[in-house]
């Protein structure tokens, strides 16, 4: 039976809403709304009682898997536990019910928090200044690249190319494009790192930047990072650090110390803010001293009278990149997390994230091909190519995993590994959870060998089985329409 759409629960005349009675003189619409501007047909919003609404969304929620439902080793997404205390913190009335345009004297607490968070993120990344504005990782990339562009332009240099490794997230080249750059993709070497020869070839006086995720999406630390930084800088380019994988390096090394000039962090990955089913996130961006003039406005500053303020005074700034000051509610959560962990805790995060990943990789290597045989960082990539002999694809393995109450790994990414499965356990998982997951993965490998149909027809335990994605794309149905009654 189909789970009804909220529109299918609607009944004309039913009402849940509750509003104060209008206590000022009512207005005659025709006297205040220009002719032809009164809405003729009301939007077909559902008409539903409160309990039916609550049951609808509660029911939908139970048809969804979150971190609180079970292990979620989705590579590159850092699906950590989202602390409940941070949810409370963000909902404090003094944070949730303040208007962004209140006089700054009346929001000193909020500005203090933002100022301190900027400083903490600077310290964590080894950068000189941070802007908290970008709403997501991709927005951070774009902001960073716009600053790199401004930097080169200010120096009178015409640098139009951004270099990215083939293992990069799609957002890297896309962000380069929307920041007005063209992209050069360079291959990885046999150890999964940047191919230095290819890099040297790609570098030139049109090089604006190299974008690097380190550790990479293969979960591998770029061992040649010092040399790479040197090469890029000598070519006149800048280094951009994609912080998607920063969970692996907290307190172990810092992008700033590695030679990066610009960095973004995904607070919804490394700093435990919830993913929200696809957002909101936050992608603060940090820069070295030379790039400070280009940071977006407004900046959060401490005035000489010890009050915090918003500063719009930055002639070289790339301007505004988002409404107001960033996803404040997310920033509160990240600040709460940093206060909770402290320097010792954050270092422990990277230790256990890496420990868990290596442990899992080692144990899974019994039945799956490990893409690169070396110590990994917070994640690693398996290849499902060995299962193919019985026609079992990585997709099938992923679907079979669903039957055991886990979210599967990221699949078919990175692009440079055949039948890739990218697994990131995070430090918030216990050894028991990893062990139980290993048992399932070994069982699936065995099934792929012995009873491949079970895997190929998976999932069997979910509320719905495999969906026809081709039909979805070929004849898109992107909204509900009320059936016409004949």
């Amino acid at each position: 039976e189909n789970f009804p759409l909220i529109f299918e629960r609607s009944k004309p005349g039913r009402k849940a809403y509750s509003l104060p009675v209008l206590d000022v003189p009512d207005v005659e619409l025709s006297t205040v709304v220009p002719d032809g501007y009164q809405r003729k047909e009301m939007a077909a919003l559902p008409e539903i009682s409160e309990v039916d609404l609550v049951r609808h969304y509660t029911g939908l929620s139970t048809r969804n898997h979150g971190v609180d439902s079970g292990f979620y080793p989705l590579g590159s997404c850092t699906m950590k536990y989202n602390p409940k205390r941070n949810e409370l913190a963000a909902r404090l009335t003094g944070f949730s019910q303040i208007h962004p345009l209140q006089p700054t004297e009346t929001v000193q607490g909020a500005l203090t928090l933002l100022y301190r968070l900027q400083n903490h993120l600077s310290e964590i990344t080894g950068m000189d200044a941070v802007s908290l504005q970008p709403a997501a990782g991709a927005a951070g990339e774009w902001t960073g690249l716009m600053m790199i562009r401004a930097y080169h332009e200010a120096r009178g240099e015409k640098r139009t190319r951004v270099i990215v490794p083939d293992s990069a997230h799609g957002t890297n080249p896309a962000s380069a494009a929307v920041a007005g750059f063209t992209t050069i993709t360079i291959p990885s070497n046999e150890r999964g790192g940047v191919d230095l020869e290819a890099l040297r070839d790609a570098l030139g006086n049109d090089t604006a930047a190299l974008m690097l995720t380190n550790p990479s999406t293969l979960g591998l630390f770029e061992e040649d990072i010092v040399e790479i930084a040197d090469l890029v800088h000598r070519a006149g380019g800048l280094l951009y650090y994609d912080g998607a994988n920063a969970n692996a390096i907290l307190g172990q090394t810092r992008p700033g110390d590695m030679g990066f000039d610009v960095v973004h962090l995904n607070l919804h990955k490394t700093f435990t803010t919830p993913h929200g089913g696809g957002g909101p996130g936050a992608g603060p961006v940090g820069v070295k001293r030379d790039l400070i003039p280009y940071l977006p406005v407004p900046r959060i500053v401490l005035r000489e009278d010890n009050l915090y303020d918003l500063s719009f005074d930055a002639k070289a700034s790339i301007g505004k990149v988002k409404g107001f000051y960033g996803n404040f509610g997310i920033l509160v959560r990240a600040y709460a997390y940093i206060l909770t962990m402290g320097p010792v805790g954050l270092k422990r995060v990277s230790e256990d994230a890496v420990l868990n990943a290596n442990y899992l990789m080692k144990r899974l290597s019994e039945a799956y091909d490990v893409a690169f045989e070396r110590i990994c960082k917070h994640e690693f990539v398996l290849s499902g190519r060995t299962l193919k002999k019985n026609g079992v694809k990585t997709l099938d393995v992923a679907k079979r995993i669903l039957d055991f109450g886990y979210h599967p790994p990221t699949i078919y990414f990175p692009l440079n590994v055949e039948e890739a499965m990218m697994i990131e356990p995070t430090e918030t998982e216990s050894k028991e959870t990893l062990d139980a997951f290993v048992e399932v993965m070994l069982q699936i490998a065995k099934e792929a060998e012995e009873t491949p149909e079970i895997v190929k027809n998976a999932p069997h335990q979910t509320v719905i089985n495999r969906l026809d994605e081709t039909q979805a794309a070929r004849a898109p149905v992107l909204r509900y329409r009320k059936p016409t009654v004949l």
């Binding site: 909220i6 809403y17 104060p20 009512d26 207005v27 205040v32 220009p34 009164q38 809405r39 009301m42 919003l45 008409e47 509660t58 939908l60 929620s61 139970t62 898997h65 979150g66 609180d68 989705l74 913190a89 963000a90 404090l92 944070f95 949730s96 962004p100 209140q102 009346t106 903490h120 991709a138 716009m146 929307v178 063209t182 992209t183 010092v226 090394t253 919804h268 993913h275 089913g277 909101p280 996130g281 301007g319 505004k320 409404g323 404040f328 509610g329 600040y335 909770t340 320097p343 010792v344 954050l346 420990l355 868990n356 998982e429 719905i464 969906l467 026809d468 898109p476 992107l478 909204r479």
Partner: protein, 448 residues
């Protein structure tokens, strides 16, 4: 060893795991980091706080802000105080929603996928256009994305923007435009509405789109229909930034001819939160679907013919298009979109109309009161729930005096030029009791 609530491994676990891996220390797992760039020692951050201490510290900071529960505020300008039904937070606090990622595995993500599909329907209904995506970051970036999309679709690279569009939105659009080598040009406003004469003059062949706001930054109900007619004659797309609450009562931009509608979705059940996270709404005509940025959920069936939902049309997206992408958006504001869906489902058509009507009536009542108290009207155009008043040369002191009593009278507009030197923008909604409006009017009268 210090313990952390979020890190389960015990010392013994760590030893066993290291043994399995076959290394003898945690340090060995970081040996791939060149020693020259290893971070020695501890980061210079405050020591770890217990939950109680951390919460106390954040409560202390929160108390240093004047929350709108303790104030009378007519601040708007892109962020609006509305009644948020309690069901909204109750529903988005279901952990299966908020602790989930983007629904890549549809079989265990039907909850969010169906919620997105419903959201898309609601947005299409509200704006009067064909298709919605799953959300963008906010109202400001939505204009940027819409304009870039229009340029990509029309293969033109010039965008006209009304001066009556929120200046913050215009600033963000400018940044987007610079990124993609697009030019923006401003159309002046007269009496708080877009100057159609100047618009006509600037509607050249290289123009991809006209951007206007409805109701606009000053609250004016723009003549969208007329602009659409003018623009479409030149095959120029019209992007309308709207306020979703207003659409409970005002004609939908789609019905007026808009090609792309964007909006700040915050008023739909999202808290003010000092500016974010908010909700970027975008809907388009069918013809523009393949250029629409961001996630889209679509309906399909499973092997047994049961209805289900998936992320679809992914060929548009950055992870497929990579360097050919015209938008880089990846994560969005799914949870805010969910809040908007819960809000709209709770209000229903009658409720939304009622909210809009109350905003309208109370704004008109308040404007009359404040004008009676001595403030001067700046514009005469029809408006929805925002309007501009001139407080005269002592404007700054007056605002300051009111502020000391936690009355935030409005947003000063002096940055918009000499005409608005002493002007403030006010927003009035259903949260404003008549008694509060009267009280402020009284206070104002004493100050003017």
């Amino acid at each position: 060893m210090q313990s952390f609530s979020y890190i389960p491994n015990t010392e013994q676990d760590r030893r066993e795991m290291l043994a399995t891996i076959g290394v003898d220390s945690l340090d060995a797992l970081f040996s791939d980091i060149p020693d020259a760039v290893r971070f020695k020692g501890l980061l210079n951050l405050p020591d770890a706080m217990s939950e109680y201490e951390m919460m106390n510290e954040l409560k202390r900071l929160a108390r240093q802000n004047v929350s709108l529960e303790d104030a009378i505020s007519f601040l708007g300008a892109g962020a609006y105080q509305h009644v948020i039904p309690s069901v909204v937070d109750a529903m988005i606090s279901r952990s299966e929603f908020y602790t989930a990622y983007t629904p890549y595995q549809p079989e265990i993500s039907q909850g969010i996928l169906q919620a997105i599909f419903e959201y898309q329907t609601l947005m299409a209904e509200l704006t009067g256009l064909d298709v919605s995506n799953a959300s963008l970051y906010d109202g400001a970036t939505a204009i940027g994305e819409a304009a870039m999309m229009a340029c990509s679709h029309t293969r033109r690279n010039r965008v006209l923007v009304s001066a009556a569009v929120n200046p913050d939105y215009r600033a963000v659009l400018d940044t987007y435009a610079r990124g993609q080598h697009v030019e923006t040009d401003t159309i002046a406003e007269i009496d708080g509405a877009t100057d159609h004469t100047e618009l006509v003059a600037k509607l050249q062949d290289d123009v991809a789109a006209v951007v206007l706001q409805y109701p606009n930054f000053f609250g004016t109900i723009e003549d969208v229909r007329a602009v659409c007619e003018l623009a479409h004659e030149k095959k120029v797309l019209v992007i309308v930034s709207t306020n979703p609450i207003a659409l409970g009562l005002l004609e939908s931009p789609g019905a007026l001819g808009a090609d792309i509608v964007v909006a700040e979705g915050q008023p739909l059940g999202n808290s003010l939160s000092f500016g974010g996270p908010y909700l970027g709404i975008i809907t388009v005509k069918e013809a523009l679907l393949r250029k629409l940025p961001g996630r889209i959920a679509g309906q399909t069936v499973d092997r047994e013919g049961r209805r289900g939902f998936v992320l679809t049309l992914q060929a548009r997206e950055q992870h497929i298009r990579r360097e050919k992408a015209s938008s880089n958006i990846c994560s969005n504001q799914a949870l805010n979109a969910l809040a908007a869906s819960v809000y709209l489902s709770y209000m229903g058509p009658d409720g939304l109309y009622n909210v809009a009507k109350q905003c309208l009536a109370k704004a008109h009542y308040a404007r009359d009161c404040f004008i009676k108290a001595g403030a001067k009207a700046v514009h005469q155009a029809a408006f929805f729930h925002e309007f501009v008043l001139d407080l005269g040369p002592r404007s700054e002191q007056i605002l300051d005096t009111l502020k000391k009593d936690n009355i935030f009278f409005g947003v000063p507009l002096r940055s918009l030029g000499s005409r608005y030197e002493n002007a403030v923008l006010l927003a009035v909604t259903e949260v404003h009791a008549k008694s509060a409006i009267d009280e402020v009017a009284n206070r104002l009268e004493g100050l003017l």
